[in-house]
């Protein structure tokens, strides 16, 4: 398949569908008051690291 044969319409449809289907509600985690409080620990190497805020900033 060459780039000319790519179904761009289908690709864009899939891209649009990706955003709609991710199931993340806009209200989830977009409250500025809660943004700096990590709701769950960071997962690195499968180990849970408790992190009260984005310390890497």
């Amino acid at each position: 398949m060459s780039a000319e044969n790519l179904d761009i319409v289908q690709m864009r449809k899939a891209w649009l569908a990706m955003g709609q289907s991710l199931g993340v509600q806009p209200s989830q985690g977009n409250d500025p008051e809660n943004l700096n409080k990590r709701k769950r620990p960071l997962t690195v190497f499968g180990a849970n690291i408790e992190c009260s805020g984005p310390s890497h900033y």
Binding site: M1, R12, A17, L22, V24, Q25, G29, N30, L35, T43
Partner: protein, 203 residues
């Protein structure tokens, strides 16, 4: 009593009153500024929520495309939201909101990935479990995610913007490239994706 002694208490009183008057004015101004700040915070918060409401899908798609696991997706999305919130005051509206969201979210994703480069990538099945749609759509979404997954970080950002129908000029501005470079890169990326699709068809 000398003349000086007679006048000085009056002068002290005058200076004292003037100082009090000035202090009151400063305090009143400080209180007014604090109120204005509170008001602008509320306005900013409202603006932020409205922006996220509109661009939520875009932010999620970008973070999803840079993710190899559910944990990574959650972290990238949360960090992107933090960075958008922090950057709101500096947003001067010179670029379109979408271009600005792209720039902040892509930079945030790249920065988080660099700092957390030791993510343990599970199989993509876990990540694909987040997709809530019918089977045919799910297959197409997974296919495009895998194809984007083979691209470099900059290529990913470019193709995502192209898929979102941003103009070459907007992509160039966002990526700090010139228009012709963007056009060349898009052609090459499309070639790579076509090859990846072909490979998948063979399997």
């Amino acid at each position: 009593m000398t003349l000086d002694n007679a006048i000085s208490p009056r002068i002290s009183l005058t200076i004292g009153l003037r100082m009090q008057f000035l202090w009151d004015r400063i305090m009143r101004f400080a209180a007014f500024s604090a109120d204005s700040e509170k008001l602008s915070d509320i306005a900013l918060e409202r603006q932020f929520k409205a922006m996220i409401e509109i661009e939520n899908a875009t932010i999620s798609k970008i973070c999803f495309s840079y993710s190899g696991s559910v944990a990574e997706f959650d972290d990238l999305r949360q960090d992107a939201l933090i960075n958008i919130w922090r950057g709101m005051q500096g947003f001067r509206g010179e670029a379109s909101k979408k271009t600005w969201i792209y720039r902040v979210t892509v930079n945030s994703c790249l920065s988080t990935i660099r700092k957390q480069s030791r993510y343990q990538h599970e199989s993509l099945e876990g990540l694909y479990g987040l997709i809530e749609t019918d089977d045919s759509n799910k297959e197409a979404i997974e296919k495009i995610h895998r194809a984007i997954g083979i691209l470099g970080a900059q290529e990913k950002a470019i193709i995502m913007m192209w898929l979102d129908e941003l103009s070459y000029e907007e992509i160039a501005t966002c990526m700090g490239l010139n228009r012709n470079t963007v056009a060349t890169k898009i052609r090459r990326i499309k070639d790579k994706i076509a090859k990846e699709y072909k490979k998948e068809e063979r399997i």
